[in-house]
Every structure is written in structure tokens, then in C-alpha cells.
Amino acid sequence: MAEVTLDHVSKRFQEVDAVDDLSLTIADGEFLILVGPSGCGKTTALRLIAGLEKGTAGTIRIGDRVVNDVTPRDRDIAMVFQNYALYPHMSVYKNLAFGLKERKTPKPEIERRVREVGEMLGLKDLMKRRPAQLSGGQRQRVAMGRALVREPAVFLMDEPLSNLDAKLRVQMRAELKRLHQRLGITTIYVTHDQVEAMTLADRVVVMANGKVQQIGRPQEVYGAPANLFVAGFIGSPPMNLLRANVADGEIVAGSMRLPGPAGVAGGEVALGFRPEDVQVVEDGPSFELVVDVVEPLGNLVVVHGSTEGTPVQSGAEEEEELPMVVSGSRTQVTAVFAPELEPAPGATLRVGVAPRRVHLFDLRTGTAIRPRHD
């Protein structure tokens, strides 16, 4: 077990900064998740810690040892790969034992540890099988087991659940959390799935373009996004973002008027609010939401609609996401309601957002504007 420290670490591939000045301390026993869209540098960061890539700048420490020039085998880490990377020509037993054998562990010790891990992960009856004879979930377990059996100081996981189907993923996610709670090994986990990030992590690092956008507990990152990118990336459906003006203690966006926060200078800002913070109101500060599409999910209803205003891009939008056809000066708004309220498409709802649920961002820099609470 060990603390991992990254100190101004950068990695440059030709012209691209894959990881740009990353500084991070992962506490002993912490479950830290690097999350971001593809190409944000999270996997490169993990590979730098593993020693599979050589950084262009900065220092990496595992425990109190600088490991910049230490080979992967001597870093006392274990890694789970996205495609599991099980040795196809070896049985499950040999796959698990390989790392110990390479380290000249005495045979009885190898047998004991492989048996122990096999029991922990329910692999006991599969020991003689080859990877090709295993199901996806079983392969995933073997990959986990191969890392566990080594009893490393740090676990590195590169999207370990992304090749599983949805149901198995939820199951393995819970299992992973249980495993971490039981063993308490420092874990650095890379994913693009924000649900995994939210549910598993002690702390989340949101990355984009090789840079850290925000580090914090999942609730912090969700509740108080540090900038537009994090606001747009974390949360599903994503946060609604539109242009607004702050003037005379009031936020004005299209037909929407909300009481302005104290201590915020006037001018144009980006206004954000989460779909679940949209509420149907009788009177008070509110705006009209014209319902477009209704998606009942059983426990809640997702309503896609539009209102007057100009949208703001967070930079976290998926590429394939097409801008919805919105006529004139209207912007798209997503709301989540209780299932009892199931509006018909085409209906107009009067909705509002509680002032303390409103997020404001600087339009130019994207950083959050935090109102002073006096």
C-alpha cells in the first residue's frame, strides 16, 4: 500500500499534449477515478503511473520512491486492462500465477495465493480452463484476480468494465467497490463512464484536453462544478446551459427572470441548472417550457423541451450529438419530473428553479462564479 504523487507531470506525443502539467496526490488506500471524454489524457496518465509510457516532464512517486526511471515490473503495481489481456495460451491458474512465478515466489506460496484469490472471485472451478473458454464476466474476474494475487501497492485499472454488458457491469461495479472496501488498496481507475466515476470513487478527477478540470468528491463535482466543462460532462441528462444577463440583482435569460445572487458583478454569464432542479410552479420567478419529447423511465419522467434563450456549449458535448432543430431564438431545456406528472408533447409548462440550485459561469473563461453567501 502506498501513496501516489504526480508532480507537474506532462506527456507530449509529437505535437499533442496528452497530459499537461498534472499534479495529483492519491492518498494511501484511496479509490481515485480519472474521468473524461476519449482523448482527454486519462489513459495516458494511468500508463505514465504504470511506467508503460515515459513522461516528458515531472516526477511520479509511489510511496516515497521516485519511480520515473523504474521499470513497470519494479513499481509494485498491478494493472487491469480494458481488454483484460489474459495470456491466451495459459490456463486460468497459470494466468494468475504468472506474476508470482516471474518474481520467483516459492511454489507453495504461489499455490496458496492463487487458491485464495480464486475463492474470493469464484474462479475455483475454472482453474484449468483457457481464457477462450470463459465468458466475458469470467475473463474480467481472472483479470482482476491476476492483479489481486500480486498484492501490489497500487492497483491501476483502465476501463475494466467497459467490455461487459450493462447488467454485468452494474454487478461487477458493486463487486469492485466491495473488494476495495475489504482490501483497501490504493486504486487509480480510468473511465469515461460518469456513473462508474460517481458510484465508485472516493475522489473524482475530471480531465479534458490533458488538463485537470476539477478534483473532488463525487458529490462536490456534481453539486458545484468548477467550470462549464465539468458542468456539461458530469450528470445525465446533462446540465441545461444558456446565456443570461446579470443586472440589478436579477438574472435574465429570455423570458426567464431569477433573483440574482449577491456579490456578482453585472454582465453576460452562462446560466446552468440541472434537469432535476426544474420544478413546475404556480407563480414566482418562472419561465415557459414547451414540451417536445417525453421519456417515461418508470421512476421518473425526462422531458425535453425548449424555452426562449440562447444555448451555451460546455465543450463536453458528444461529437455525434446533433443540435436539435430549435426555431428562432429558442434553446433546449431538459427537465426531470416525478412520474405522476406526464405532460403531453406540445403542452406548455410553467417551471422554475430554486435560486440556490442555479449555477453561474463566466462566459469567457468558463470558470464558475461563486456567489458570496453573506
Binding site: F81, Y87, H89
Partner: protein
């Protein structure tokens, strides 16, 4: 059983080969096969004839008696056994050498980043395009300087590694998922350990193909031994067979008996490793 039952039990018709006794292609292949096989049969037949029968015109394809004595004569009158052993030694050492050195070089070119890697690789590839006739004299001079003329070393050393083998194994290694090797390195294996324990065990087909091709090529090589070997004791089979052909007289029946014996190992290898021959031909056009 009724027809309905049978249709339930039998696998779907799609998965079965058409139940014709032979494919229409066989009508084309059969005559070609015949053309290929006739010389082989003729050789075997001639090896059992008397010298007079071999000179008969038109040639007799059915010998009057089976003269197995020809084989005994070859073994008694010529150092055939010696040639056979020489060829076997040269071939086996070349095969093993190619497997070792080509896999080391191929792996380095496939996976290790080093200064000048691509330039070196292109240079090695370029040698594939230079005909042997161009390099034969420099190679001869080097071998002579090493003092290996008229020894088996002259046949072995220049053939311990080849551009083709390096190229073929590199291409194959590139198709293996790199994560396997990374996992092994994190698990504690050294570079050499990764090659020996992960990469090579997964490269069986490629290694077999290289072995078979090298075997075939070395066993049948005539030109290079002809230049470097003078004494009868150091000859290979191909060279030894040529000595049967005299300026004034050729004992065709004995020559064919020797031929049969020299071709036999190739035939055995071919039947055992047919699919690797085919793969070898197929991979010569492997995509980069």
C-alpha cells in the same frame, strides 16, 4: 424414421458441404496434378531400372524387374550417406538459427523503439529485392576471410538469419495485442521473458512456416554449395547428385535412385506440414 424426424435431427443443410463426390474444380486440377506427378513417378521407376532400360526409346514406364540393387550401389559407390548427413546438419542448424535470430530481430523491429529502427528495417527489407547473384561474390569473399571455404560453416553461417524471416516474424508479432506484453511486463517479465513466454508461444504458426520454408530452401540449395564446397566429403546432396552426371556417361538409374533418397525427406515434411507451406506462400503478400 420419417422424413420429418430426419430433418429435425440433421444439422441445417447450409453447414454441410455439397454432397457431390468431387467438385467441378477437380476436372481442372486432376490433369494438372497428373503433369506434376509424372516426373516424380518416372524418377521412381527409373531408379529401379537397369542402365539399358533407361536408354530405351520411347522410355519404358514399366521396368522388367525391380532393381533395388541400384540403391545399394549408390550407397556403396558414393559417399551418399555422408552427403545426406551434411545436408541434414546444414539444414537443421539453418532452421534453428533462423528461428532464433529472426524472432529476436523481428521482435525488436516490431516492439522496441530504438534510434534508426525504421531506417534499418527498410534496409533489411531492401536486401530482399537484391538478387543473390549480386551478393554472391561479396558473400564469398567474407566467407573466405573467415576461413570457412570448403567447410559446412560456409553453408551455415551466411544462412543463420534472413531478411525474409525477420520481415515475416515482425509482421506476425505486430498482430499480437500489445496489452499482452504490457501485462507481462507489469507482471514482472523482462523483455526477453516477454518474448520467450508470451510472444513465441503465441507465434507457433508463424514459426512453423518459417521453419518449413527455411528447411525447403536450404535442403534444395545448389548454387551456393557449388561455389564454396570442393571436396566430396563436405558436399551436400544437391551437389553430390550433380557429380553423377559425367561428361561422357551418366548412370541415370543410379542418379534417380539417389534422387529418390534425397527427395524423400522433403516429401515427408511436405505431407506433415502442408498447411504451413501454403501459409508461407500466402504470407509473402502479408500486408504491412
Amino acid at each position: 424414421m420419417t422424413d420429418v424426424d430426419a430433418s429435425v435431427i440433421e444439422p441445417p443443410a447450409k453447414q454441410r458441404r455439397p454432397s457431390l463426390l468431387f467438385s467441378r474444380w477437380h476436372l481442372v486440377l486432376l490433369p494438372i496434378a497428373l503433369v506434376m506427378v509424372v516426373p516424380l513417378v518416372w524418377m521412381a521407376v527409373t531408379s529401379l531400372q537397369t542402365l539399358n532400360e533407361t536408354r530405351h526409346y520411347p522410355p519404358t514406364l514399366v521396368p522388367s524387374s525391380l532393381r533395388f540393387k541400384n540403391y545399394g550401389d549408390v550407397l556403396r559407390d558414393t559417399p551418399f550417406a555422408r552427403w545426406f548427413v551434411n545436408t541434414l546438419v546444414v539444414t537443421l542448424v539453418s532452421v534453428v538459427g533462423n528461428l532464433i535470430f529472426c524472432s529476436l530481430a523481428g521482435y525488436a523491429f516490431a516492439r522496441i523503439r530504438f534510434f534508426g529502427r525504421n531506417v534499418t528495417f527498410v534496409l533489411i527489407l531492401a536486401t530482399l529485392m537484391v538478387p543473390f547473384q549480386v551478393t554472391v561474390i561479396p558473400t564469398f569473399l567474407i566467407v573466405r576471410q573467415l576461413g570457412m571455404i570448403d567447410t559446412l560453416g560456409a553453408l551455415i553461417v551466411p544462412n543463420l538469419a534472413g531478411a525474409f524471416g525477420i520481415f515475416m516474424l515482425r509482421q506476425f508479432f505486430l498482430t499480437l495485442p500489445v496489452e499482452l506484453e504490457e501485462a507481462a511486463r507489469i507482471d514482472g517479465a523482462t523483455r526477453l521473458g516477454v518474448l520467450l513466454k508470451i510472444v513465441l508461444p503465441l507465434s507457433g504458426p508463424a514459426l512453423a512456416t518459417l521453419a518449413v520454408i527455411t528447411f525447403l530452401w536450404t535442403w534444395n540449395d545448389f548454387f551456393w554449395p557449388l561455389i564454396t564446397i570442393y571436396s566430396a566429403n563436405n558436399m551436400t546432396l544437391q551437389l553430390g547428385l550433380a557429380t553423377f552426371q559425367g561428361a561422357h556417361q551418366t548412370n541415370t538409374n543410379l542418379l534417380m535412385a539417389a534422387n529418390v533418397m534425397s527427395v524423400l525427406p522433403m516429401l515427408i515434411i511436405f505431407f506433415l506440414a502442408q498447411r504451413y507451406f501454403i501459409r508461407g506462400i500466402a504470407t509473402t503478400g502479408l500486408k504491412g
